[in-house]
Symmetry: C2
Subunit: 156 residues, 2 copies
């Protein structure tokens, strides 16, 4: 017997939850490919217009890993009290691109991460844009949804 599809049809409630998780995210777990194996680290981030931006240092292994292999994955959504799997979270498949530290890009990043003002000017810190290609929203046991990049954009 074929397995049941574990994903529910993506509806407005799922999209609204995804938008809430994105809006609340100030950090996430970034998985990169490093020497052929996955490696996961915490990054600070800002989100807007369906994309994420992070500021990462050459001292951290993920930075060079993203230069060599820009396909990465990002987990957002914090667990609260009690069972950690009862809290919603979202896994995004993203493509990383290093962007210039223009005034506009720096201002947009610092709007979400004001403490980064202390080191955003350092030469070994880089702004990296993470653009989602697909997302998997887990809203709790038995409530999983696949989302597209369009689903992640809030209607304006």
């Amino acid at each position: 017997m074929p397995k049941a599809d574990p994903f529910r049809p993506t509806d407005d409630d799922a999209r609204a939850l995804a938008h809430r998780l994105i809006g609340q995210a100030s950090h996430g777990a970034l998985a990169v490919l490093s020497d052929g194996a996955p490696s996961v680290t915490r990054i600070a981030l800002t989100a807007g217009n369906g994309v994420f931006t992070t500021l990462i240092s050459d001292l951290a292994g993920h930075t060079n890993a993203l230069r060599l292999a820009p396909e990465a994955s990002l987990l957002i959504g914090e667990p609260g009290k009690g069972d950690p799997l009862a809290h919603p979270r979202m896994t995004l498949q993203v493509t990383a691109r290093f962007i210039d530290k223009t005034d506009d890009n720096a201002t947009a990043y610092l709007a979400g991460q004001p403490k980064a003002q202390l080191y955003i000017g350092f030469a070994d810190f880089h702004l990296v844009r993470l653009t989602p290609n697909a997302a998997l929203l887990n809203a709790g046991f038995g409530k999983a949804y696949r989302l597209t990049p369009a689903d992640l954009l809030e209607k304006t």
Copy 2:
């Protein structure tokens, strides 16, 4: 000029912090290799004797990914208030191994995750042991340490 080594010598304070993070961890971010790209999801876990155990379902993509590629990565350590990067966390490179749901294994897992009693018996849920091969402890800005599996073991 060569870059300065970003890692400090591993000392007893670093090991004590690693033990604390492990002792407090009830969940983590698990990065696996899936169709050649990293994918990161939240898992519940219990820790003891320097290894981690999780209970994962065939409905989740990470489960089959670990069967195909058991080298994975685990991020533990929760951010608190304020700057998420000021809080300690640890990235572990781990090897996954599916273990039998013997009474001993199930009892040990349920000691840390009592709510899993509801579904540990389901045939599509599997206990997986995650054994660290290496760890990187980030205790806050400028405080990074490499740890070995022996460093992760508490002396008894």
